[in-house]
């Protein structure tokens, strides 16, 4: 009797042990890498804290593997590489489409214009590999180079979609832009000229009110808003509604970062504007009313336009251009191998 009791207790204890897990780890078995060079991402104090997953530690070798994948057409079935639409010189966008820039995405948890993918970097990379590129994993496994690299970085004999997404994630986390003139201004190692300073004032006061969504630091709040580009929503313009089916999400789009904005034309989710002047004109006087227009955009001064002078507008554009970071667009760590 006593024996049976003990057995029952201990069996349930075993079950307990099986379910015992402090942190939610991904199911991908990743052995601790050996002989790899750890890589630490550094960033200024005004950036939010970067959360990194314990099961995909950053290493120079891992980042480099991700870089190879990013620039390699092997990943797709039609001769495309990620870098075909995401050019480093354009802060990883293209001049011909509305491709979102790859800048500081390590801090993001909502991806794509309508936020279709929510979660970690590994999640969006899994989406890119499996759904967007529908990568031929068998082909990857026939590559002597990649088999060797994955063995080295993840100690795995086979290449899986998960491991592809892990390696790409490492590369994406390394895509950090933090060296613009504006950063030097924040860190008091450089100053802005008169026009840029006036533009900064407009940006960070209710006069322009840009900071409420393009929060200083990352220059995005990682949220969704309708900024009044349309009043009737059809096709791609329905935005986040496509994902949630909620009417209140009509016309809502992810706030893009403004870092390197000078290099990422055309602008907005459908690339409707080709210059920053046009964007500023939109905020100044072209905001269209609708029921889902962001509250910030419907305050009286916005409803009737920001009332910026042409000098104000030029100043605002001058400030936006202080967010260009050529050390990012020339960073050898991110270049084509």
């Amino acid at each position: 009797m006593f024996l049976r009791l003990i057995r029952i207790i201990s069996r349930s204890a075993v079950l307990l042990l099986l379910f015992w897990s402090c942190r939610k780890e991904s199911s991908v078995p990743v052995d601790a890498p050996v002989n790899l060079t750890p890589y630490a991402i550094t960033y200024p104090y005004y950036f939010p804290i970067l959360e990194l997953p314990a099961n995909n530690p950053l290493t120079l070798e891992g980042i480099d593997l991700g870089r190879h994948l990013y620039y390699d057409t092997i990943l797709s079935r039609d001769g495309r590489a990620c870098a075909n639409c995401h050019f480093q010189a354009s802060a990883f966008t293209t001049y011909t489409s509305n491709a979102l820039a790859h800048i500081n995405l390590g801090w993001n948890n909502s991806f794509l214009w309508n936020g279709k993918v929510q979660g970690s970097m590994e999640d969006i990379m899994m989406f890119e590999v499996e759904q967007f590129f529908n990568t031929d994993v068998a082909k990857m496994n026939r590559s002597v180079f990649y088999r060797k690299e994955f063995k080295k970085v993840y100690n795995s004999d086979t290449i899986t979609p998960q491991l592809l997404s892990y390696a790409l994630s490492q590369f994406f986390r390394a895509m950090v832009s933090k060296n613009s003139l504006c950063d030097k201004f924040f860190l008091h190692t450089a100053s802005l000229n008169a026009s840029q300073t006036r533009g900064f004032n407009i940006f960070t006061t209710e006069k322009g009110d840009c900071f409420h969504c393009h929060s200083l630091g990352l220059f995005t709040d990682n949220k969704f808003h309708n900024i009044g580009l349309d009043s009737i929503f059809i096709g791609v313009n329905v935005g986040r509604y496509n994902v949630t089916g909620k009417e209140s999400d009509l016309g809502h789009f992810k706030t893009p970062t403004l870092r390197n904005i000078e290099l990422t034309a055309p602008y907005m989710h459908d690339g409707r504007y080709t210059t920053l002047e046009e964007v500023v004109d939109h905020y100044d006087s072209k905001v269209k009313h609708s029921n889902t227009l962001d509250p910030i955009m419907t305050k009286p001064s916005k409803l009737y336009g920001l009332g910026l002078t042409s000098q104000d507008k030029a100043d605002l554009v001058a400030f936006l251009k202080t967010l260009t970071d050529t050390s990012f667009t020339n960073n050898p760590l991110l270049q084509k191998p």
């Binding site: 104090y45 939010p48 960070t204 630091g217 419907t298």
Partner: protein
């Protein structure tokens, strides 16, 4: 039972006991204090319009001025918490960022509370002047998004309450009630018996949005500023209205 069978049985027994022992000695993930002189309290914030629970983005509630309104976002800080009983005073030095829309951010936890029957709790909606300085809070995405630019005095938004209302012509318009600046720090005082006797207690703080727009000042979104950030009079009125937004209930 044969001898060898018995031996196997006792071996099995030994192994299971060993396993059980290992499991029981295994350190727990969350380290619970086992000191019986301290207890915990969880306060969850829920949004209401009078007695009706708010459904986000639903423009269907009505305030004292008769505006039909809805709420799409509420983000604020709770800090400076003090609980008092006849004999004890408990003070928390923490500042909590609250977003009632997101379950994981809709509550704050207090620990190390000396057990007592507390009769009063006071707290700030916002941050005291020592904390309300640029970059004083740890740079989480939430705190960064709450920053009040240096150009406008620095520090943080105490509160962002945003949504839509119908104007006199029944057109949907937005409102953005933003509060910041030290002079607009809101002190909330709730007199309520709180049995804080055991390990974990849970409370609900109901945030009645109607009280933002009334008592003492009847705030008509169609006539007053529907955007308060640069309007010190509007902020003052909202601040005074908001001292009674909360009601407290003990759940267990």
């Amino acid at each position: 039972m044969s001898r060898s069978c018995k031996r196997i049985e006792s071996l099995k027994l030994f192994a299971t006991i060993l396993l059980a022992a290992v499991v029981f000695c295994f350190p727990s993930c969350k380290k619970e204090s086992i000191d019986p002189t301290y207890s915990k309290a969880k306060f969850t914030i829920q949004m209401y319009s009078a007695d009706t629970k708010i459904v986000w983005d639903n423009v269907g509630y009505s305030n004292a001025a008769g505006n039909t309104f809805g709420v799409s976002n509420a983000n604020f800080y709770i800090s400076g918490i003090v609980m008092k009983s006849a004999t004890k005073t408990y003070t928390s030095k923490k500042a909590f960022y609250i977003d009632p829309k997101i379950a994981a951010k809709s509550y704050f936890l207090l620990d190390s509370i000396p057990p007592a029957d507390y009769t009063e709790i006071t707290m700030y909606i916002g941050l005291d002047k020592n904390t309300n300085k640029s970059n004083s809070l740890i740079a989480t995405t939430d705190n960064v998004n709450m920053a009040w630019p240096d150009m406008m005095g620095g520090g943080y938004h105490f509160l962002k309450l945003e949504g839509s209302y119908l104007d006199s012509l029944n057109v949907t318009k937005g409102y953005a009630i933003h509060l910041g600046k030290n002079e607009n720090l809101i002190t909330v005082k709730l007199t309520k018996l709180m049995h804080q006797k055991y390990w974990n207690h849970t409370y609900t703080l109901n945030f009645n949005v109607n009280e933002v727009f009334a008592n003492p000042y009847k705030y008509d979104l169609d006539l007053e500023a529907n955007y308060t950030m640069s309007d010190s009079l509007a902020m003052l009125r909202i601040k005074n209205n908001m001292t009674d937004v909360f009601t407290l209930n003990q759940d267990n």
